[in-house]
Symmetry: C2
Subunit: 363 residues, 2 copies
Amino acid sequence: MKWLNGFVRDEIKGLQSYEVPDITCRVKLDAHENPYSLPGFVQEKIEQACSWFAFNRYPDPNAHILRKNLSIKLSVSPDMIMMGNGSDELILYLLLCFGPKRVIFPLPTFAMYDILARVTLSTAIGIPLDDGFEIDEEKIIDEAQKEPSIIFLSYPNNPTGNCFSRKRIERIISQTDALVVLDEAYYEFSQETFLPLVYECERIVVLRTFSKAFGLAGLRVGYMIAQPQVINEVRKVKLPYNLNAFSQVAASLSIENAPLFLPIVQGIMDEQKRIADALGTICNIKVYPSKANFILFKIAENICAKDVFNSLINEGILIRYLGDVPGLNNCLRVTIGTHEENNEFLQAIEKIMGKEEEGRGRK
Amino acid sequence: MKWLNGFVRDEIKGLQSYEVPDITCRVKLDAHENPYSLPGFVQEKIEQACSWFAFNRYPDPNAHILRKNLSIKLSVSPDMIMMGNGSDELILYLLLCFGPKRVIFPLPTFAMYDILARVTLSTAIGIPLDDGFEIDEEKIIDEAQKEPSIIFLSYPNNPTGNCFSRKRIERIISQTDALVVLDEAYYEFSQETFLPLVYECERIVVLRTFSKAFGLAGLRVGYMIAQPQVINEVRKVKLPYNLNAFSQVAASLSIENAPLFLPIVQGIMDEQKRIADALGTICNIKVYPSKANFILFKIAENICAKDVFNSLINEGILIRYLGDVPGLNNCLRVTIGTHEENNEFLQAIEKIMGKEEEGRGRK
C-alpha cells in the first residue's frame, strides 16, 4: 500500500470513480435510455447479422460502412466523422489530443467533462449556470481568453434539460479561440443543432450518440463531427480498434433505417410533454422545461426529495436523485419511459406527494 | 489551419496514428486472429442472446457476471479483475492512472506501449532486444531505477514470438520499484504466465484478452488482473460503460464454455509447429521459435522480403511485412490460419522463394 500511495499521482488519488448506483427496479427511469426495443425490422436484421458475423476478425478500425451511412444521413463528408465507443470515449480523445489545457464547462452538467479533464491533467473549470439554468457567457469567455481552452457544452444540457441560448454560445465561439465541443447527445429529441457551424469554424466539434434516440445504449456507439484536419489530429490518439464490429453493424443498420425510429422519438416527446404537464399540476413540484427525453423537477423545500426518491424505489420505480449536485438542491430527474411506465411513475409520485402533504398538514 | 497548428501539442503533431493496412486478401494471416469460427454451441448461445438482449439499456459498468465467470476460471477474486474494450484500452487506463512516468519496454514489441505512452505525456523508453530477442534486463533495471517507471513486457512478445527469460523478468521485478505489466495476450497458446506472482506483488499487472484464443477479436474484450487496491485506482480513470453489453454476454458464454476452445487452441499450435518446420526447410528462410499463434521469419539478405510479401498478396495471401521495424530487417510474420490456409501459404511461399532463388541463379 505504501508503494501504491507513492506511485499514484495526487490528482487521481482525490478522484471519485464515476459510480452508477446499483439499484434494480421494475421500472427503470434513471439513465436517459430509450424505453422501447428496436424497430422490428432493425431487430430482425441485427439478429440475422449474428449468424454471418465474423466474431474472430478485428473490426474495421475506420468503420467505413457506418461512417458512410452516417455521412449520407447527415450530409457531411465521411472524413468529418469519427466513431467512438460511446461519446464518453470521444470526450477522452479530445482531451488527450488537445489537452492538457483549461477545460471549461457549465455547472451542473454531464459529469464526465470534469472527471476526464482531471484524468488527462487539464485544469477543470466549472462555471455555475444562473437560476434559469442559462450559461454565464461572460465568465466563460473571460476564462477562455486567459489561455488556450476547451469548452464543453451539453446541448440540451444534462441534467437540466434546456438548450442554452444560441446567441450566447455564438458569442462564446466568436469571442474566444477555444475549441468548443457541443455535446448533442439528445439532438434527435431537441432538433436543435450547431452542425452547420462545423463547416464555418474549425474550432467547433459536435458529439452525437446512438445511445438515446436510437436505443443502442448497450452497444456503445457515439460519433463526433468536425473538420477533417481536426479529425486527423484526434485519430492519432484513437485506439485502433475502438469500436467493436458488432456495434458497427447494428449502428449501421439503425442509421440506414432511421425513419423507423421517428415515431419512437415522437412518441417519447409526446409522453415527455404529458408527464411535464402532469407533474406540474402536483402540489409542491416545480417542473423545468426540457428539450430532451428526461425532465428535471424540484420538490418544495419542506419535503425531502431523497425521501420521495426512496419512496419511488419502494414502489419499484427508479429515477435519479440529484439533490447532492450543487445548484440542484432537492431536485429529481425522471427519464421518459413507455406510456405504462410513465403512468406508474405519475400515480406513484402523486400518491407519495399527497402523503407528504398530508403528513405536513397533520403536524 | 494556423489555429489548429498552435492548438495541438507538439507531441501529438509528431505522432503517427496506428494505421492498419487496408488490404483485402482471400487468405488473411496478418493479424493474429483465430482462423476458426466459434464452437457451435457458443455461437448458438450468442445468436439466441441476440433475441432477448436489451440493446436499449446501458451495459453493467462493472461487468459482474463476466468477471464472476472469469474469476472462477482463473481462481482469482472478482475484485482483482477489470474488463477493457480490448487490452489496448487497459494499457491506456494504466498510463492515465499511473502516468505520466517513464514508460519502459523492449524493442521491437507491441506498438501501442510506445504510442499510448506518448499520448499520455509519459516518456517512452524503448530498450532493444539482443540478437536472440532476449530482453536486456540490466538496461531495463538501470532505466527503471532512475525514476518511478512503468515497464511493459509482452509475454510472449509480439512480434518476435518468444517468451523472455523468466529469471530476467523476476530480476526486473525484484530490483526495481516499477509497475510491471505483463501482457499475456497469447497466454492460451504459450501456457506460460506470471499470474501467481500477482498475489505476491502489488506492482505486477497481467493483461489477457478474448481476441486471440477465444476468437472474439471483433467484440473487443480484454481484461487485467492485479491486486484489488491497484484495480481500485485504475477504476477511477475508467469510462463508466467501457465494455458494451453484447461483448459482455459473448465473452461470458465463451469463458463458461472454455473447454470447447481447447481443441481449437491445440489445433492451432499443432499447425504452428508444422508451419515452422516446413518454413525451416525452405532455402533462404530463417524461422524464429514462437510460443504464440504466429511465426516470425527472416528472408536472406539477398532477397527482398517486401517482394516476397507482395508476391504473396498477388497469390491472395496477406501476411505482415516487418522489415521496416528496427531490429527486424527483412522479416515477415505469418499468423497461423486453418489447415487449408496454411497449406496455401506454404505452397505459395515455396514457389515464390524458389523463383527468387532461380532468378538469382540466372544472374
